[in-house]
């Protein structure tokens, strides 16, 4: 939380050298999506980024200049990304891009941004390998599902001494397919027998058929490789058919937690997921930032994408403050390179989401947590506690 403490309440304008108030605002691009399976996550990300910008601007901006978010609604359509991002770069002259939260969108958006040599940061995109085509220009705050969820879920399997498991996979989506592979690895590693694997295609189907197939095997554990909304419907169907298996999810299920819990209601109770973000983080400064965000935005709990997006904006602002970068047409190229170097070297930046560090591959380094749904909320604990 370097930035806010650095300029909190002080008369920034008086500092002279850094005052560039004639240069107009710093522009950041933001791509969200009002449609598609991750629309809710996307809206949350957008809210977090805007909240960060509002706080910064209310405090006098960066180097005397406001930050402005130039937003594009991709409506879950790759075609929009292909045309909108070059436009953001050439016409709006954005300094950096807040990339889509969904892996599919992020992969495309980051690749386009990388081609134009614009840094892109995502507040989501947990599928392994998403950033590969766009490195070193891209980063994500998220630890990939695999590196984060596998050890956590293996620990859970041991703790629950599970013997048999079923997996339900959304086959129409690369992210959920990767989740399915992840579960197989977990069950392999913890000697749990996979007795049933069923598939669905997200959106329109009733899950009666799939759940009936799984119920026939009466597994101890059912692993949900599904978007949060679909996972919710699956959970309800599982409970309504009287199955009492333990439901588990990866970190991305917890990330989309509100959708899952609102959709599933009582059926979500007891669901266990891996987690990498704790909305009730007791450590400062995260604790007070979270509390403030909850109050200012009237939230029950800050969700992952909100906190991650908030931290992205503040990371960029910190770089701009520290370097005094003008990000003017002449210096844009150098300044963007400067941001890359800054991000590569960030070490334990203290943000709303806890300590932020990026791994070699540009993904976030996150704590291994797990979450359990209790009384309609994800309660986060550390593995082994």
């Amino acid at each position: 939380m370097l930035f806010l403490t650095a300029c909190g309440g002080d008369e920034e304008g008086g500092d002279g050298g850094d005052d560039q108030s004639d240069a107009g605002p710093y522009r950041l691009g933001l791509v969200h999506s009002s449609e598609g399976p991750f629309a809710t996550n996307s809206a949350t990300m957008r809210a977090g980024a805007n909240y960060a910008v509002d706080l910064i601007n209310a405090d006098g901006g960066v180097n005397g200049r406001d930050i402005e978010l130039v937003e594009v609604d991709a409506r879950n359509d790759p075609q929009t990304l292909v045309t909108a991002i070059p436009q953001l770069v050439s016409e709006d002259e954005i300094f950096a891009l807040l990339a889509p939260v969904d892996s599919a969108g992020c992969e495309i958006a980051c690749a386009i941004a990388a081609e134009l040599e614009v840094p892109a940061l995502s507040a989501g995109a947990g599928r392994p390998g998403v950033l590969e085509p766009s490195r070193p220009w891209s980063f994500t705050m998220t630890a990939p599902d695999a590196s984060n969820s596998i050890p956590v879920l293996e620990a859970i399997m041991e703790q629950e001494s599970a013997g048999t498991a079923a997996i339900i996979v959304d086959e129409a989506n690369a992210t959920t397919q990767a989740q399915g592979d992840l579960y197989r690895e977990v069950f392999d590693g913890s000697d749990v027998e996979v007795v049933s694997t069923v598939t669905f295609a997200s959106g329109d189907s009733s899950f009666a058929s799939q759940v009936t197939s799984m119920a026939a095997e009466n597994p101890d554990v059912i692993a949900l490789a599904a978007g949060p909304a679909d996972a919710a419907r699956i959970a309800v169907e599982i409970r309504s058919q009287g199955l009492e298996s333990l439901l588990i999810g990866t970190g991305s299920l917890q990330a989309g937690g509100t959708d899952y819990i609102n959709g599933a209601g009582d059926a979500a109770e007891g669901t266990l997921t891996a987690a990498q973000f704790n909305p009730d983080n007791p450590d400062e400064p995260a604790a007070s930032l979270l509390a403030q965000a909850e109050e200012d935005n009237d939230l029950d709990a800050v969700s992952l994408n909100f906190a991650y997006a908030f931290d992205i904006v503040n990371l960029i602002a910190t770089y701009l403050t520290d370097s005094g970068a003008a990000a003017s047409p002449d210096t844009l190229e150098d300044d963007r390179q400067g941001l890359l170097d800054f991000l590569e070297d960030v070490e334990a930046y203290e943000g709303m989401s806890g300590d932020v560090t990026f791994a070699e591959d540009g993904t976030g380094d996150r704590p291994e947590l797990y979450a359990v749904v209790e009384n309609g909320q994800f309660v986060i604990s550390e593995v082994g506690s």
Partner: protein, 292 residues
């Protein structure tokens, strides 16, 4: 398990049957497709779900509200997209009703947001077990309400003067007019009943899927088109039979093959049927089962 899957398929089929009935009624009355019926089902279901979860009213009341909303929306669709569109332009109502559908979707997302809404379970904890077969409360409701509505519709069409008038208009609107039937009012009535069925289908589908989303409208329309094309356009009984068939086929495909083949197999089936029997499995006027 096969028996259970067959029952699951029939359950899915009953919700398809209601929406197919809804489409076929309009085809019969006007020889036109109302492309806004999927969205009509969606908006009824969303409202029903919201009434149940926000106003805490019972399923029965929410269901009746969904029927009423479906009826009103379909009535408005008739006035906006069909009533004043000249009969010479066959494609005009396709576009105008598609447009109404788009407007409904954007109104719903504008007013209540784009989140999917939970449909609370009905008769929670009720579970009937017959041998290997298990039917839970929601499924019982879906099965009995869909069956009841189908029976009521058949009864209405076959046993009442207005029902006979609907079928008369469907056969020959000019002649029905010469017999003293107020044709435009009968068509409006047909739309209203069709909307009622769409509303029922919407909320029952929501009950079966446990949620409703504002973006399912057009998918519902596509499913209904598959069903009515397979069953023979305008053939009411054919539509019901085709709906149950598609429900069972979809379910068995998902259970024994893969979810990704589901649409493929249904499309193939419909494609093959159309090549072999362009009039559908059951023809409009002289099918195996015949028109009502």
């Amino acid at each position: 398990m096969l028996i259970q899957q067959l029952v699951n398929g029939l359950l899915l089929g009953t919700t398809f049957a209601l929406i197919a009935l809804s489409f076929n009624l309009v085809v019969g009355a006007l020889d036109r497709l109302n492309f806004a019926l999927g969205e009509t089902a969606m908006v009824s279901a969303i409202c029903g779900a919201l009434f149940m979860s926000q106003l805490d009213i019972t399923f029965v009341l929410a269901f009746l509200a969904a029927l009423a909303i479906g009826a009103v929306v379909a009535g408005i669709t008739f006035l906006l997209s069909f009533r004043f569109v000249s009969a010479e332009y066959h494609t005009a109502p396709i576009l105008s009703s598609l447009g109404v559908g788009l407007v409904i979707t954007s109104l719903v997302t504008r007013v209540v947001g784009s989140d999917q809404r939970r449909v609370p379970s009905v008769l929670e904890g009720v579970r009937i077990e017959i041998g290997p077969l298990r039917i839970v409360g929601d499924q019982l409701i879906i099965l009995s309400v869909a069956a009841l509505m189908t029976v009521l519709l058949y009864g209405f069409l076959n046993r009442t003067p207005w029902g006979t008038a609907i079928r008369g208009v469907s056969d020959d609107p000019d002649m029905a007019g010469l017999l003293g039937v107020p044709v435009q009012r009968v068509i409006l009535l047909t739309f209203v009943i069709s909307g009622t069925l769409a509303g029922a289908s919407g909320l029952l589908t929501g009950l079966s899927f446990h949620t409703v989303s504002p973006f399912t409208g057009f998918e519902t329309t596509l499913t209904a088109l598959m069903v009515i094309v397979l069953g023979g356009l305008g053939n009411i009984t054919g539509g019901v039979v085709a709906a149950l068939m598609i429900g069972v086929i979809e379910t068995l495909t998902v259970a024994y093959l893969s979810a990704t083949y589901r649409d493929l197999i249904v499309f193939l089936l419909v494609g093959i049927t159309l090549v072999a029997r362009p009039q559908g499995l059951f023809t409009r006027n002289t099918g195996v089962v015949g028109r009502v």
